[in-house]
């Protein structure tokens, strides 16, 4: 079969010693930033974007992807031992895993999370391998209107499906779109919102925005609000290995979690939050010990962790085949491709097959490395959790400012970083999601380009988006996703009346 030939070629790239090294650096950094509060994969990749000028594309992208899925492994360690989920997708793990840790079962909780992540990551990569060529075959038929419709779908799902409020999600999205507009527009050459400031003419760097919102905003929030709260790190006592019974209770949740997580990631709907909750609910229902849920049931860690990882790998399907990022980290990965002048999508599979397949093959390799890093070496990561907050956040800010300043050697960017950091603090304080800002600023200019191309084809007739069957269908689905819940509520109210 052709897919396996391509994958084999990919392994030739991924197993080159230098790429193995980059994969290892990536997954190690990924685990570290996943474990550490205050810095996540989005910030880590953004800070390393300047390295793209020094590294070849396959090495850099393999490392960045390693950071992305490595952080999923590291994140579970923190939520089990600290009960402060770094990201919403690990809330469930934090609930059940931390309960296990409190009962002296931290070891098996960490073990089922790591092995579950490995099982899910590997199966999801196999699914990605099989599915990607199919989507590519479909996507070559897409024209600008279809891409525009898909991007609108991604915008709406990222900002409305995730998070607590549609309006606040849309606020974040539009602010991101606004940030994306700043700079010299590349089709007409017009300067937009530049105000004669040369740094703005080149546009606002994604590094500045990501680091400002996530790292600086988080530091402000932790310093001004959370410093009163003391956290307790649970100790890992006894063996970290699972008992025979633990294995028996874990393997089915791993598989079910994968089955739930992958489709959620692979659809442009994205997001790992919903599948982890679904998996938790499913395990609770199917478990022989439902009474243990809430008091440290191993199924409640195994299932959601697998769902989280499978969904993270699933996100690679729309990113690689369509160029559609559905999370903040995926958007920054897209920015990394753009640094090399590459645009993910069906064309990339044709013109840069070794690069794309090398990247996919590196997921298999990286997951094996992560299993080793997160089981025998778990003690090293627990040490990281013990770094005291003042020095941890001070260190994060030193790295953050260095990355932002170093991107283009401009002090202006440091002040911009400060302003965006304050915005991040306000967004966190008032419950606005931040991921849509990043997706909006990166995908916005691409959507604008596709919209203009479409309208050039139709000679200015906007009905082109609805009259073409595929783009029309996508837009109808988008409308249903956004308005559906509201309509259902209205109908119920009417029926009651």
């Amino acid at each position: 079969m052709e897919v396996w030939d391509l994958l084999l070629q990919g392994f030739n790239v991924a197993l080159e010693p230098k790429n193995l090294l980059w994969a290892f650096v990536g997954v190690t950094l990924g685990t570290a930033v996943g474990v550490l509060p205050g810095i996540g994969p989005a910030v880590a990749i953004a800070l390393l974007l300047p390295l793209t000028s020094k590294l070849d594309p396959s090495g850099a992208l393999i490392m960045f992807a390693g950071i992305y899925y490595g952080a999923m492994y590291g994140g579970s360690t923190t939520s089990i031992l600290l009960n402060t989920p770094g990201e919403s997708a690990t809330i469930v793990t934090a609930m059940e895993g931390n309960q296990m840790a409190k009962r002296g079962r931290a070891g098996p909780a960490l073990c089922t999370a790591a092995v579950g992540s490995f099982v899910a990551g590997t199966i999801a990569t196999i699914l990605l391998t099989l599915l990607a060529p199919q989507v590519v075959d479909l996507a070559v038929k897409f024209g600008p209107p279809e891409y525009f419709a898909l991007m609108i779908l991604a915008f709406m799902t990222v900002s409305t499906v995730l998070g607590d409020s549609t309006i606040r999600g849309l606020t974040a999205l539009f602010i991101g779109l606004g940030i994306g507009v700043v700079g010299i527009e590349n089709q007409s050459g017009q300067a937009r919102f530049v105000f004669g400031i040369p740094q703005l003419a080149d546009g606002i760097e994604v590094v500045t925005v990501a680091v400002g919102l996530f790292a600086v905003g988080e530091t402000f929030y932790m310093a001004s609000k959370m410093n009163q709260v003391t956290e307790k790190i649970e100790r890992v006592k006894g063996s970290i290995l699972m008992t025979k019974d633990d294995w028996k209770r874990s393997w089915k949740p791993w598989l079910r979690g994968t089955a739930i997580g992958f489709p959620f990631g692979a659809m442009p709907a994205g997001g790992a939050e919903i599948p982890t909750f679904l998996s938790y609910a499913a395990e609770k229902k199917l478990s022989a010990h439902p009474e243990e849920f809430g008091h440290g049931a191993i199924e409640g860690v195994a299932g959601p962790e697998a769902a989280n990882n499978a969904s993270a790998t699933g996100v690679m399907v729309p990113l690689l085949t369509l160029g559609l990022p559905t999370s903040a980290t995926a958007a920054i990965l897209l920015a990394a491709f753009q640094q090399y002048g590459l645009q993910p999508g069906p064309l990339l599979f044709e013109t840069n097959a070794p690069l794309v397949w090398g990247l996919i093959a590196s997921f298999y390799v990286g997951n094996v490395m992560l299993l080793v890093l997160n089981l025998p070496l778990i003690g090293v990561w627990i040490k990281l959790l013990e770094v005291p907050k003042p020095q941890l956040y001070a260190g994060i800010l030193v790295f953050a400012t260095m990355g932002v300043y170093g991107m283009r050697q401009s002090a202006f960017d440091v002040f911009l970083l400060y302003a965006i950091g304050v915005m991040g603090l306000l967004m966190r304080r008032y419950g606005f999601p931040t991921a849509p800002v990043i997706v909006g600023m990166i995908l916005g200019p691409l959507a604008e380009e596709q919209m203009r191309r479409s309208l050039a084809i139709s000679e200015g007739d906007p009905t082109i988006f609805i009259s073409r069957p595929i783009s029309g269908t996508i837009l109808v689905i988008t409308a249903l996703i956004v308005l559906g819940p509201w309509l259902v509520r209205r109908l119920r109210l009417l029926r009651k009346a």
């Binding site: 932790m222 310093a223 001004s224 008032y430």
Partner: protein, 159 residues
Amino acid sequence: MKKIISGQLALSCGVLAFGLFFLIGSFQIPDAAGYSTVGPTHVPRAVGIGLLLIGGLLIWEVIRGGFRNHDEAAEQALTTDWLAFAWVSAGLLLYGMLIERAGFIPASVILFVCTARGFNSRRWLLNGLIAVVMAVGIFALFNYGLGLSLPKGLLKGIL
């Protein structure tokens, strides 16, 4: 009449202001549409209008008792430590002012010490020492290892 949460109201007005900014700004971009019917002004205008609409909806929510699905009480229960905020702010703003004049190492050390103080750490000497080691390490790695040059500033003669 429900109590209006002033912070939420101010923030919603900020969103309105952003919308106004983009809308007005879009009229100052020369429209060189040419043969393609959508020029560089359309998206900024849509962003402006969108933000105005959203700002209006947010104010509507605030008037009706506050943002939906947002636990304002929990946030207000955690008092904001403005002194901590000021320390971290000072660190970042000083960094911006000093990075090109004093150089990477002094700017980073000041940022580190100020941020740590923001988190209530008063071990100035220890923090300063960690900061110096870290800044020198990063400087060496980037300038000599990766060839990305960071400003030497005051230490020009030594480094």
